[in-house]
């Protein structure tokens, strides 16, 4: 079939994207290989390294487990019970997603210096991460066909038995994919463990980059972290295979049954309130408190303004470059098959498995050794953003392009348009709103990014995230608060968009 042959006008730029995405991991491999096998083995086999692996896994495991319990419980309470304040819970339970982990860490440690180490990091990361489980489980819950539960009941199962044997089974894929996101987030997060002084991979990598002249250890530990994140991703994909769901026809408009909680109504509401209080209300209250305190001491407005301006400028560049690089790959992924296409698509997703600190460090090596002219200048930072956020942009492009029907493009071809003209006159105009939304999401994600910005920002330039980091580091909490508040405001927007698109997706299904 003709459609299987991808035009070079897409493959060429797509290859460029793939190479950019592979640059950090490639350079990290080169850097590690240069060190020699003996040196690498020496670093990996240290007792300290083993302890580091165990600490990181313990953190990721605990955060994932807690997020699963909290996320699934809140999802069930918010969708299927008569808990008081159900609507309020449904909205507020997702909002902690809008608080960057390092902002939450700042909020806690500034109020309670004792909240640090393992316990503190678990607390902060869990309250930031459980929405990654909560949101997909809520969506899955709303998709469940109530008729299936009715069938189980009519076949003699009790409500409780029906829930475990039928309903919970259908939630498993959603919960599992959410848990994967949480585990990867906990492993790769840099801000929270660093501010809370818990030595995970990311903090140790940063420390050994800062302190020692020989950065081989940082490179080796980075690779080790990548191996762990890739292994977790692969393992999750394995378990997901074979859990397909059989569905005939579309969704059902009927409302599912509501579970009456009875005497447990108020205790359940209280528990939910505690979660929302810890994850959402407290961090914002703490931010506002320090903001007020700092206000009386005087806010450094010029610095706030220049930080905001440079944040915006870097992020706009990041979003534009990401989207430009993502368009050929997204169109290829939506429209064509083939070995080269599949390679380009998979390679471009490399950033998905790479923690920000790893990408940053790899690009530091690359900048110092190969690309000295752009080291600690804007282009290298933009490349880091591109590597990290191209996957999100590709997802948006692919979804938007897949929505525009192939037959419409064929009609354009038969009216005399070349593939390039079809792309320009039909495919991209149709996909523009979706691509634009993806670009906006990348823009806001770049604004929140901390580790790569910290390591690669142009010398002498501060962004909102790095200013918060610096001020918190010297315990100038009042001075740090305005940056934290600004970041929360920025992050609320994509969270609301995400929640709305999920709701729209449900409406489309029913």
């Amino acid at each position: 079939m003709r459609s299987s042959r991808a035009p070079w006008i897409l493959l060429g730029p797509g290859l460029v994207t793939a190479l950019v995405a592979l640059l950090p991991i490639g350079y990290l491999l080169v850097r590690t290989a240069e060190a020699g096998l003996e040196r690498v083995a020496d670093i990996i086999l240290r007792e300290r390294t083993l302890a580091l692996v165990l600490r990181s896994l313990a953190l990721a495991g605990t955060v994932t487990l807690l997020s699963l319990v909290i996320g699934v419980t809140l999802a069930i309470l918010a969708t299927r019970t008569n808990i008081p304040g159900r609507r309020l819970l449904a909205v507020t339970a997702a909002l902690p997603l809008a608080i960057p982990s390092y902002v939450a860490a700042f909020a806690w440690i500034s109020a309670f210096p004792a909240v640090s180490g393992f316990g503190g990091t678990v607390l902060v990361l869990t309250s930031c991460c459980y929405p990654y489980v909560y949101l997909p489980v809520v969506a899955a819950m709303r998709r469940i066909d109530p008729a299936v539960e009715e069938v189980a009941r009519s076949l003699g199962r009790s409500p409780w038995n029906t829930f475990w044997s039928v309903t919970a089974r259908q939630l498993r894929p959603a919960a599992a994919s959410g848990a994967l996101l949480v585990a990867l987030y906990a492993l790769s997060d840099f801000g929270a463990p660093s501010l809370l002084r818990f030595d995970t991979f990311t903090r140790v990598i940063y420390a050994s980059y800062r302190s020692s002249f020989d950065r081989t250890a940082a490179a080796v530990l980075s690779l080790l972290l990548v191996v762990i994140t890739v292994a977790i991703t692969v393992a999750e994909a394995r378990t997901r295979r074979g859990s397909e769901r059989a569905r005939v026809g579309g969704g059902v408009a009927r409302r599912p049954h509501t579970v009456r909680l009875g005497a447990l109504r108020w205790p359940a509401a209280a528990a939910a309130a505690v979660v929302v209080g810890v994850a959402l209300v407290f961090p914002i209250a703490s931010l506002l408190y320090w903001f007020a305190t700092g206000l009386s001491a005087g806010v450094d407005l010029p610095h706030l303004a220049t930080s905001a301006a440079s944040t915006f400028w870097f992020s706009v560049l990041g979003a534009v470059v990401c989207t430009a690089l993502a368009i050929p790959v997204g169109v290829l992924a939506a429209r064509y098959r083939g070995r080269l296409t599949s390679f380009i698509e998979h390679a471009s997703f490399a950033g998905h498995a790479l923690p920000g600190i790893v990408v940053a460090l790899a690009l530091v090596f690359f900048g110092v050794r190969v690309a000295q002219p752009i080291y600690q200048r804007t282009p290298l930072l933009v490349i880091a953003y591109a590597v990290l956020f191209i996957p999100a942009a590709i997802g948006a492009v692919r979804a938007a392009v897949a929505m525009s029907p192939v037959r419409t493009e064929e009609a354009a071809r038969s009216l005399g348009s070349t593939p390039w003209q079809v792309l320009r006159r039909v495919t991209l105009p149709l996909a523009a709103p979706g691509i634009g939304a993806g670009a906006a999401l990348v823009l806001l994600t770049c604004m929140k990014e901390l580790p790569a910005t910290l390591l690669l920002r142009p010398t002498g330039t501060d962004t909102l995230a790095t200013s918060l980091w610096t001020e918190t580091g010297v315990a100038a909490y009042g001075a740090a608060a305005p940056y934290g508040l600004a970041l929360v405001v920025l992050a609320v927007l994509p969270t609301l968009a995400l929640m709305r698109s999920q709701r729209a997706g449900e409406a489309g299904l029913s």
């Binding site: 079939m1 003709r2 459609s3 029907p405 037959r407 419409t408 064929e410 009609a411 354009a412 071809r413 038969s414 009216l415 005399g416 348009s417 070349t418 003209q421 006159r425 039909v426 105009p429 149709l430």
Partner: protein, 352 residues
């Protein structure tokens, strides 16, 4: 002169052969319907002509231009073959005028008379500024046709363009499409599985089955003189009677009937085979004083303009159950009747 000439066209999806040597000639300025059951390869043929399916072998030529032959594969945009897809597939981001102007050269897209001209032709003058989502299904299909006709293509391909429309609308849109095509003198190929549509709209009908064109002739010929039982069964309803041929007479349960021999094969003077009749060739008579074979009415399906009556002959046998189309007074289930044959039947000898 043939506007479209397809020779020995073969195409496959993986292991499955979809086209097994298609030959098709379409004359300049005519509308040819490609008729066949779903899965017969008719849509693949259309897409191969448009250039969206790469054939394995054969040639496709439009006018004097070879579009496909071994070593040559003209891309879709340079074929001058316009497509009207099943669902219209209008460009949702453009208004009606933008859609129709899409295939015109850049300098003619704005303010050209051509857009108004073709819109007028399909009966949508004054709709230029509408958005596709403000149009009914029938209007969308007409815009899709106008869009295809605007650049004056060498050939227009219509892929089941009426199947998404409801029955009431379909007739009107068909008539309008027919008129518009005739007015522009465009050569067109219409793919359909609807025999009424093929027989009523087209100048010629090509019956496709299992990846080949079985027969290509005028609608009358296809209906009255099908080349084999397969074509006969697919085009219209069929009454099949076991028959013994003697000279030009075929002896059946309904008596002796004049047999037109299968034109392609010279049937032997005496042979066993099948006599094919159309339901409207059977006549019902009152049982008490009519001629013909005695039978009992089983069911009656009343269609308004006529009725289809299923009867069971008293004489037992494999073909004792017959379909009769009658415009006269209808019988009721359980009535006793007699059945006769009017006109000649087609005789197909048993394969040796």
């Amino acid at each position: 002169m043939s506007a479209l000439e397809v020779r020995g066209l073969r195409a496959s999806f993986g292991e499955t052969q979809v086209l097994r040597g298609v030959d098709l000639d379409v004359l300049e300025g005519t509308l040819t319907a490609v008729l066949g059951p779903s899965g017969c390869g008719k849509t693949t043929l259309l897409r191969a002509v448009a250039g969206f399916v790469a054939p394995d072998a054969g040639t496709v030529a439009v006018g004097n231009h070879v579009l496909f032959c071994p070593g040559t594969d003209v891309p879709p945009e340079r074929r001058g073959v316009a497509l009207v897809p099943q669902e219209g597939s209008l460009f949702p981001h453009l208004d009606v005028a933008g859609n129709v102007a899409f295939g015109l050269p850049r300098d003619q897209r704005r303010g050209s008379r051509r857009v108004a001209e073709v819109l007028e032709l399909v009966g949508l003058a004054g709709y230029a500024k509408r958005r596709p989502d403000e149009l009914s299904g029938g209007q969308q299909q007409r815009v899709a046709l106008a869009r295809a006709l605007a650049p004056s293509p060498r050939l227009v391909l219509l892929d089941e363009p009426f199947s998404a429309l409801d029955a009431g609308l379909r007739g009107a849109v068909r008539a309008d499409v027919r008129t518009a095509l005739a007015a522009t003198g465009a050569t067109a190929v219409l793919v359909t599985h609807d025999q009424d549509e093929a027989l009523s709209m087209a100048d010629t009908v090509a019956v496709m089955d299992d990846g080949v064109v079985r027969m290509h002739a005028s609608p009358e010929q296809v209906y009255t003189g099908p080349v084999d039982l397969g074509v006969a069964r697919f085009v219209g309803q069929l009454v099949e009677l076991r028959a013994q041929l003697e000279g030009t007479r075929a002896h059946t349960v309904l008596g002796a009937v004049t047999a037109l021999p299968d034109a392609r094969h010279t049937a032997p003077v005496t042979a066993g085979g099948v006599l094919a009749l159309r339901p409207e060739q059977l006549r019902l008579h009152p049982f008490e004083h009519g001629p013909g074979a005695p039978a009992q009415v089983e069911t009656v399906s009343f269609h308004g303009h006529d009725a289809t009556v299923a009867v069971v002959l008293d004489a037992p046998g494999p073909d004792s159950r017959l379909l009769v189309r009658t415009t006269g007074p209808t019988a009721a289930a359980g009535d006793r009747v007699r059945v006769t044959v009017e006109g000649p039947g087609l005789f197909f000898p048993d394969p040796a």
